[in-house]
Symmetry: D2
Subunit: 303 residues, 4 copies
Amino acid sequence: MDYQAVLDEVAAQVKPQIGRGRVAQYIPALASVDADRFGIALADVDGHVTGVGDWERPFSVQSISKAFSLALVLADDGEKLWRRVGREPSGNPFNSLVQLEYENGIPRNPFINAGALVVTDRLQTLTGDASTTMLDFLRAESGNPDLAFDQEVAVSESAHGDRNAAVAHFMASYGNLHNPVPTVLEHYFWQCSIEMSCRDLALAGGFLARHGLRADGSRLLSQSEAKRVNAVMLTCGTYDAAGDFAYRVGLPGKSGVGGGIVAVVPGRCTLCVWSPGLDARGNSVAGVAALDHFTTLTGWSVF
Amino acid sequence: MDYQAVLDEVAAQVKPQIGRGRVAQYIPALASVDADRFGIALADVDGHVTGVGDWERPFSVQSISKAFSLALVLADDGEKLWRRVGREPSGNPFNSLVQLEYENGIPRNPFINAGALVVTDRLQTLTGDASTTMLDFLRAESGNPDLAFDQEVAVSESAHGDRNAAVAHFMASYGNLHNPVPTVLEHYFWQCSIEMSCRDLALAGGFLARHGLRADGSRLLSQSEAKRVNAVMLTCGTYDAAGDFAYRVGLPGKSGVGGGIVAVVPGRCTLCVWSPGLDARGNSVAGVAALDHFTTLTGWSVF
Amino acid sequence: MDYQAVLDEVAAQVKPQIGRGRVAQYIPALASVDADRFGIALADVDGHVTGVGDWERPFSVQSISKAFSLALVLADDGEKLWRRVGREPSGNPFNSLVQLEYENGIPRNPFINAGALVVTDRLQTLTGDASTTMLDFLRAESGNPDLAFDQEVAVSESAHGDRNAAVAHFMASYGNLHNPVPTVLEHYFWQCSIEMSCRDLALAGGFLARHGLRADGSRLLSQSEAKRVNAVMLTCGTYDAAGDFAYRVGLPGKSGVGGGIVAVVPGRCTLCVWSPGLDARGNSVAGVAALDHFTTLTGWSVF
Amino acid sequence: MDYQAVLDEVAAQVKPQIGRGRVAQYIPALASVDADRFGIALADVDGHVTGVGDWERPFSVQSISKAFSLALVLADDGEKLWRRVGREPSGNPFNSLVQLEYENGIPRNPFINAGALVVTDRLQTLTGDASTTMLDFLRAESGNPDLAFDQEVAVSESAHGDRNAAVAHFMASYGNLHNPVPTVLEHYFWQCSIEMSCRDLALAGGFLARHGLRADGSRLLSQSEAKRVNAVMLTCGTYDAAGDFAYRVGLPGKSGVGGGIVAVVPGRCTLCVWSPGLDARGNSVAGVAALDHFTTLTGWSVF
């Protein structure tokens, strides 16, 4: 398949959607991003990458980092993680805290903030430095040694972090955080602040399309584990719109409020799309539309 | 692939699980089923069917009927349905009523009871006889003209139906049921009471593997619609265990408290497994295990 | 104290509030009431009654009936009722169904609809005709043999009764209704439909000020029971505004969406005020203001 | 009335209840208290105080402090407080966080932890030292200059304070805390740690029986404000048992998990009872029973 032609076609079809939605406003560093940006990149399982638009321009990965921290913990720790975090969709967002209470401090899945805090806590215990561990991994997989944290974003997240602090203390009250709450929050915010381009992310997520093999051919996850990360991405990866995303796109995906979405066609390729305007549920409007066009054009929905 | 050999192997592996869990107790007709039953059938896209164990023995389809009523309404009515029912997973079951209240009487998805009542209401409006319409469809697709309602089950469900009546009246208070509540409940209970074997159900669900084509080659759903029903099955088809089912099995599936599960390998085949012992979330213990073995043996998870 | 002068003063002070708020709209018979009505009556413990404004004009008692059904069941059945209904305030209304679910079908108190349905169910079991029993009681206590049900209101409530039907079926699913759901709903709606004036209600509620003695001097409730009904009125009698009512008025009270409020000064008198405009929580705007003025003028708050 | 004789009689009647329930376990300093303690004190409006049993033995006031911080803020700030905290009962405890979310960070009332944190935050803003302000007030009213914080308790509360930290950060995310979260938590924990005897507390709460007048005759609260604090105590003062407390005791009261309860007979006297064994809702078993006997013996329920 001529990937470049497909991406060009996707970019042409999605044009009317670019700029729609609302750029994340809760911290200045995100609010100042140009709403009209759009990029998409595709990396095949052999590591060839191509793209369109702003596909080489870095943006804030935000919650996309949750997919990588999950993979890193599963790689090191296996199934034990599931004693501390579930893998069920979380229903509507307003329930987050009552669900934590109802389920004794066990988050529903690793992709809601509560679950990602548990994953980060575990990665911190396993490595002693959760955020640097992730940055090193992303540099290696993307082949981009210049990847870095965005300090302004990290500090700003922390300053606006009362809700995450509330969730973290709440889980700590159930004994489900093992490191000090401020330590966990700090590594969590630094992970979210990493800046990457569509190109970087499509390459970094390559192991999910290669059934667990890293860029250098070594194994990060078993075939079964890699499929399972994809399953969690499909059922829980796009906030409270996972059902809609499965319905429209039909691929495992993980989105972030920076406007990026990573999506996986198992055995074929990893995509990353970016456009900052978000819908009411926090997913990129043009990004979802682009992936919808992509699976329609290629027929590569998993269904 | 030698399907018969695969199913034999699955049946051998699953043996220790048969009889585990708890047979549904809320109505006598279900409670009296022998817990040690186990059957599995596979129908390929050409309509060849094979099976193992109790695969030709009828059981109560219960919630598996929800997949068929959804398909029948989408076939007739298209996307309009989604104004009255969502397609997001519902989170934990205890939230069902508060979610309905929070979301103004719009159920989260067509596979929770609330959503299936809306689908049945719509099918009733479209056809004038929702339960007979479904029975006729199932007879045609399975090639089994003897399929029938189990009157004892239907009457018994109705007699124990206060919780469904509560949900139905609650939605009616938001104007989201158009037929009289007792009519909707009656057709809903009759649909659930249909008796079918694994063989019947694997054949009847064939259109989901054939991207929308019925047994006679005519089109029920467009390719895109068929994929979308599969997407809803994967994200919402197994009660509050959809994430776990995606993680372990990795196929679209729909379960019922009669102990049956229908699962789809898009483009290849439809399976139906049956064993009455249920886990805490209402899914067949041996059934889920059998499908887990099946995808491990074949590598046919969608991920 | 010159009650007539006090009521005149209250009526003068409350004038700017009359007509404020919103007349109940959910059934036509209530929606057509003139918003500018206002009446207040005071019956002392000797049965002398005086009033101002529209104090002799009948209106729909609605939820005020809940105080009488509670008293009738306690009189006959004593403390046993509390096994089936609690006596704690219910928090915000949006929780009603989730609370019922969390607390296994036991309503929080007898003055939310769920609790009143349980009380009506018990009264039906005890008497065979809950609504007529209440009507007879109210006729006797008010000395007004012409009191009657308003059939138009009762039928209309029933036609708009899906939410109450949902609550009733939900409790039935927990075994907390003993009569058929339609029977309980019917008697509940008929009780709510009774038409009474402020004069009638102030007299009918006299036993609450007389520590349990009826108008004819016979005992309905023990002194202790009467105090306890007052306690439940104070903590739960005005929907989700009981705290505010206690804060501003400081008397046990029971309101209805017809715009009436009965309030009790233990040992001294019973008041009834009526004005149809309701605040956002369903209590009469001018009614609450009038009682606030009354306790400020007299110093007769229980605190 | 011979108060000493009444208290002796109460103490005799309550004997079988002493030692029942469970001493608070969440911090060692509370868990080590002798479960068999019981004391009760009564201070009349003239400041004469009498008592029985362990009435002069200090214990940890815990949530009883919430009544004093509320009074101190109302005295200084008047009705403005109610923009930041409600005065409605909170329903069952499991809803605390979802209610905060549903109501945009406004706690239901000043006696749940969330509300008391807001009150402490305001007192801190008004005085610059919320906990010392309260200690000085309690010393003056009780006439006991030796009252002190229990440092072990305060430090221990802080070390086990993740749930309160969660609530505080959650409100901060809505802008409803104006001082830094750690500052507010610290003053809150120190207030709770104050040690007082029944004698001290009965005297310190005298202004509530004297309609707002302090021990030295100066006015802390207006008559109307004092009544209103009593109203909030009656509807919200005993956790999720306020309805039951009103039903059985019929007096405004505020309890703490140290086993103390302060209750007010407006215009007559203030009582304090102490016994460390708590019921499932956190109120002293023998304490509630003693107050129940007291109002039965004296007839001094407000109802």
